[in-house]
Each structure stands twice: as C-alpha cells, then as structure tokens.
Symmetry: C2
Amino acid sequence: MPLAMPLAMGRAYARPVDSTGGGEWAAIGRIRSRFPAPPPGETWIGDDAAVVEVAGHALLLAADVVVAGTHVDLALTSIADMGWKAVAVNVSDIAAMGGRPLHLTVTVVGPPEIDLDGLYDGIAEASRHYGCPVVGGDLAIGPGPSVSVAITGWSPERRPVLRAGARPGDGLWCTGPLGRASAGLSDLRAGRASSANAAAHRRPRARVEEGTAAARAGATAMTDVSDGLASDLHHLVQASATGAALDRVPVAEGCTTEQALGGGEDYELVFAAPDPDRVRAEFAAAGLATPLLIGRCVPAADGLTLAGQPLAPLGWEHRWRGASRG
Amino acid sequence: MPLAMPLAMGRAYARPVDSTGGGEWAAIGRIRSRFPAPPPGETWIGDDAAVVEVAGHALLLAADVVVAGTHVDLALTSIADMGWKAVAVNVSDIAAMGGRPLHLTVTVVGPPEIDLDGLYDGIAEASRHYGCPVVGGDLAIGPGPSVSVAITGWSPERRPVLRAGARPGDGLWCTGPLGRASAGLSDLRAGRASSANAAAHRRPRARVEEGTAAARAGATAMTDVSDGLASDLHHLVQASATGAALDRVPVAEGCTTEQALGGGEDYELVFAAPDPDRVRAEFAAAGLATPLLIGRCVPAADGLTLAGQPLAPLGWEHRWRGASRG
C-alpha cells in the first residue's frame, strides 16, 4: 500500500497507467495533498506502507483491498484463494519496507450468499503462514464480495526501507523473475488450472525473508512489484529523484517479456543497494536465492530506460472519472 | 470494531438480532474460533477494538466499514457525510476502550463515477476533528461505494476498558440520551433535513473525552451504542458474565423509547463503574455533562431486565445465509 494497485483484469475501467492526470495515481496525489505533512521520521500516504512512531518505535501500517471482478475472477479462482490473496498483498506491503507483519484486521463486504467459511479458510491459512493473527475487522452486507485488510508491521532493522532513498550508482535488484502471475491468469482463462503459474496467480507469495535480507544488505529504496515492473520502478525512481537504467527484464520461465514488464501481481521485491557483495552475502546467509541484478540507478535527467531505450510506466491502474475534477 | 454493526437501514438482509445462530454475531463467533487465543494481556476479535502489545505498550486496533445502501442512503445524506461517518464510527471504537485515536487507513471501493473529492472532504474533516491523520489506504474500482477504515489508538490510562470486567453492583451509565440518530433518519426520510436529529444521523460524534473520563473514573467495562442499547448492553453483560437491571431508558428529546432502545448509531458510550461519586467527579473535572445512571449490574442468573421485565437484545445485525453452514 498505501494505495498500491494489484492487477486489474482488463475491465473497462482498468487502463494502462495514465500520465495525463485522470488516473489512480493522480487521485492519490490529490488525496495526499489534503492531509498535513507527516512529522520528521514518519512517512504517510505514498509508500508501500506508512511509517509512524508509537512509543518511540517505528510501526508500519498499510491497507489493501481485493475486490471480486476487479482483482480476482471467482470463476477462475476460489473464494479461499481470494482470502489468501487479500492477506498476502498486505503482507507484501510490509515486506517491501523490509518489515515483518504483526497484526491484521479484515473487513468483508458481500451479499448474503457468499461463502464466508470458504473465504475465511484462505484468510486463516495465510494468517498462519505469515504468523500474523487476525485481531479484528468488520462484516457487512453489500455488493461484492470485497476483502479490505489493514496490517501492522515492524522493522527489524533500524529504519524501514522507503521508496525514496536510492542514489545514482546503486545497483537495482529483483528478488526473482517476473510474469508468472500474469501468465498464470492466462493459463486459468485457457483452462490450464494446474499450471505452476496458475498457482502463482491464485496464491501470491509475499517475500518477507527477502525484504528483511535486503534491508540488512543496506537497501536504500525498495518496493514490491504489484502493478508491473515498469510502473513500480517508475514510482521508486520518482520518489528517490533518480533515474534507472535497466539492462534486462527478468522473465520467468514460460512467460513473455510483456507479462514480466507490465503484468504485475508477482509481488517480487525490487530494491536499490550500493554494495553488490553485501547483497549476495546477506541473501546467502539467509539461505535465499541470490537476487537478480537488473540494472542501476542513474541521475534523474537520464530517465527510466531499458537497454538504452525509454521505458513507459506500463502497468495497470484504476481510472476514476471524478479524478479529473478540481 | 471489531465487527460492530452500525444501523442497518431496514433492508431485507438486515434483521432484528437473531439468537438462533444464523446472524452476524454467530458468524463472528465462528470466525473467532478459527484463530488462536491471544496471549495474556491482549484482546483480539470481539471487543470494540483489539488490544495488542507493541514494544511493551498497549496499542488499540479496530476496523469498521460504511457501505452505501446498507449503512447510509446517499439519497438522504451526502457522500461527504458518508466519509465523516466512516471515520467517526472507527474513532468511536477507540473511545469505547477509553482510548485516543492515533492513525487511520482508508480504503475506498466504488464505481468510476463516485465523487472522490466529496467523499474525502468528509474524511478529511473528521480526520482533523479527531486529530487522527489518514496515513494510507487503498482505492479500487468496484461496486459500492464502501469506505473501509482501520484505526490505531492508545489508552492514556494504564489499561484499556474492555467489554468484559463489569461486576454485580457496578452502576450502569450512559453518556447521553439515545434515539437521535434513529429519529434523525426518520426525519430525513420525511424530508425534514434540517432537524437537529437529522444532523445526529448524518454526522455522528464519537465520545472520546467521555470515554477517557470513564476510564479515569474506574470504569470496569464499556462499549459504544452502535447497534442499539439493548443489543450492545447484551454484549457487555455477556462478555462480563453478569446481568443488568435497567431502571430506565434514556430517551432523547423528540424520540421514542423504541428508537432509544433499538435504533442504534447514537455512539453514546455505556459503561459500568463501581463508584458513582468518582464518575461524577471525573466528568465534572473534564467539563463534561454528568452521564446518566440507567441501572446496575446484577448476577448473570438475573439476566437483562428493564423495570423488572426481561429485555430482548433488540437491535440490528446483518444476516449471512452462509452463516448457518458448518
């Protein structure tokens, strides 16, 4: 989170990122401008999670919603998968700060017919998997279903890793190859429900261990790949006031470059870090696969490029008609 | 919250509280049973807010959703009112623990046409009013609108005031007369939009100062009147394993007893406290009106009575068809 966007499933209202001001990110900017600036040391709207101080400690807060018909298609995935996903995408927001999840609140809105037990099967499974209990929430009848989750977390390192903080010269790393969730959705639509990529779409995995390893390795900026590499990297370099030169796109087996670059929902982490040896050492010490070095940060004036060519912020965002008002 | 329920507006799926197991509270009980019991000193699902420990301090967490067509009728109240209400009902959950609000995350799901600016006008106004910034959230296209808020808070007293803890002999107090929100809804439906009660429905007020005064006065149990006095008191005495003998129902001017008893959404606080002088002194010291002494706690075997007659847990809850499964 805050206000990060999972894969929009090709609905009429989900469009490639719009740089003209009518899209979700413009709406978020206008929402952000309504509220006061955070006190020193805190980060509010605009990063994967907010950083607030409670009793002298940094607490992470985030919230993400999963809406049937928008983020998941219940004809292709089960309602338990929807519950899992609502938890996992929130845990991913904490992971993207180099943090560990603490507590969940879960709010479900849906018609009287929905299978609450099935939904909570998936929620409880993810809650156990990430060691993050559901401590409260709300239930209401209404159109849907939608599952709104809020999460708290903490950072084992001294400071959480923001999107801002990358410097020219830092290496850009990705914790794994991309495109599986997008390819998996295609598989599900084609009736190939048992493919490994289909599982990546149905049950995304938050990279908590990878995020804390990156933080220990001195990561200067980090985000999760929820909207698509190009779009999420765009937000990271914008927040850091740098540019980025990608050498390559890490494409997962059986996936296309387009799926890897624009599909989103892979929830791998992308981070900047100055010392490659330290990155390799920390991931090895944690028993994790070495992350993929995909490029480097450059001065802001050099923009965002892939193999020397300008890279548009491909990805998905929701379009709010009201967003062009005011 | 957790899982508290504002006024359901007479829709087919909102029914008087159902003690047969098919209603919302039965669903909450089944959800609660899926998750482990909290560690000593923590309270999870089932109170107005959860109490969790963060860095040795008690943190309060709650989440409540406001759904158009279920909790508010946008033909009668503005979308800014809806935004205000989504914040106020969450602040009320913190107030009901004797706490003060800290941070909000706000998740909005709605169609592309919704007036996000108008909605955030109300959210921002309530956020300023309660000194509780919006630090993050999510935006998604989907059916609605619904506004899911999660809130953090802290308790200025040593321990938050739970629903459990009342003892036979404790006085039962209410921070103000009831029925205004319900009467206000009737006024709005009858076209009397400028009535004082209509304002009580459109812009409910969380009793933060009253809640902290009650905590200082030694309140042993507390909850807010969101579902209706009879229903909310039922939850308090059930959690405390006591009964309650009400001498009277505090009916607000121009309201009926039924509106006061069953209407809900007044967000006054009901609390138990052993020492009436201390209650009067703490409220006076805070410059607050003396709360109304409405009865006393009695042994559980004596049940819940009003002027000696059994009192059914009147109020509203959502009915989940799936809730009778399993």
